[in-house]
Subunit: 217 residues, 2 copies
Amino acid sequence: MTSAESAGEPDAPRPPARRRSPGRPDRRAARREQVLDTAARMFFERGYEATTTTEIGAELGLLKGSVYYYISSKEDLLYEIVEQYHRDTRTYFDRIEASDAPPLEKLRELITTETAHTATNLTRSSLFYTEWRSLSPERQRTIVAERARHEQAVLAWITEARAAGAVRADLDPKIATYAIFGMVNSAYRWFRPDGRLTAEEIGREFCELVLSGLEVR
Amino acid sequence: MTSAESAGEPDAPRPPARRRSPGRPDRRAARREQVLDTAARMFFERGYEATTTTEIGAELGLLKGSVYYYISSKEDLLYEIVEQYHRDTRTYFDRIEASDAPPLEKLRELITTETAHTATNLTRSSLFYTEWRSLSPERQRTIVAERARHEQAVLAWITEARAAGAVRADLDPKIATYAIFGMVNSAYRWFRPDGRLTAEEIGREFCELVLSGLEVR
């Protein structure tokens, strides 16, 4: 719970500029990504309310007001950061959900991947928890709906496995679902990129613990 | 993650005023508790930064400035709320730690009690997560140290049980500790006082899931 724990969000690798482009749109997109990264870090370190767009611009060497070339308001900036993080989860979530693996295999895959995603995007994943109230009610609903898809899928997988006799009948699938997300989502608070275990290893530990707790002996 | 989930923090029962007291100090203490309760609710609903002490006073029908008869600054108010919540945990934590029950029994008792404590103090338990950055670094350290005592105890109990062959050797005690607190601490985000299960029942579900995940088959 110290800001030291926010150390490591690495920059995502960017695709090389395409030759046929005059360069400018790509440079603008790259610069915009820098604005988002810097804002995410500053919101995390100082808090959303306490950070101004002028300060974000200054951190990037932009003249006062130039930050508005890349974004239209501070709340848009927060939303974009939080939404981008959640949009990135769709890639693996849709793949896992569409697969024809048995439900507990899907659960295992989601726990491992989601833990790793949370842990390798520490700053952005934390902003949903600490700053969600600064988003408009409509935008809160959009993000919450995206998270709810994951919860509903996990609940459905556990319920399906329970009906098939693979999960203990004395456990409540809904509380197990909350327990799983509580566990996975906590990673942003204590994961350290330079720690003893990788994000993937931690995801696998979580799986072992939960799956063997759920499964019928 | 909606403010509706904050509905239910009940007022703690207050001891009756003692006869030998002239009444005034007790009335002041009771009024002070109301200030803390109201501030906790307003910080939760609007955010700490966005709430002024004048607004807190107005909510209680106090004249501008009168709130300072009960508290000395807005940050003191936040600290008192968060600290009081953590002070309350000491009562059960010290009792569990001092008992001579086997380590996994202590773990079971702590998970159940701590889940119930979090769930029945929704507003206050959430403020640590959403507003900790608004506390001074020294005060953050005090609160984090209190929480670290719980984590260290759980880690020690799991390690002890593992050394005695009662907990699976292939699980990492530290990651299991993080998983447990992630699960327990998540209750403030989804527990509803009018929901299907009581806070104690949810605590017992968590125990079943984690203990059977940890234990050697």
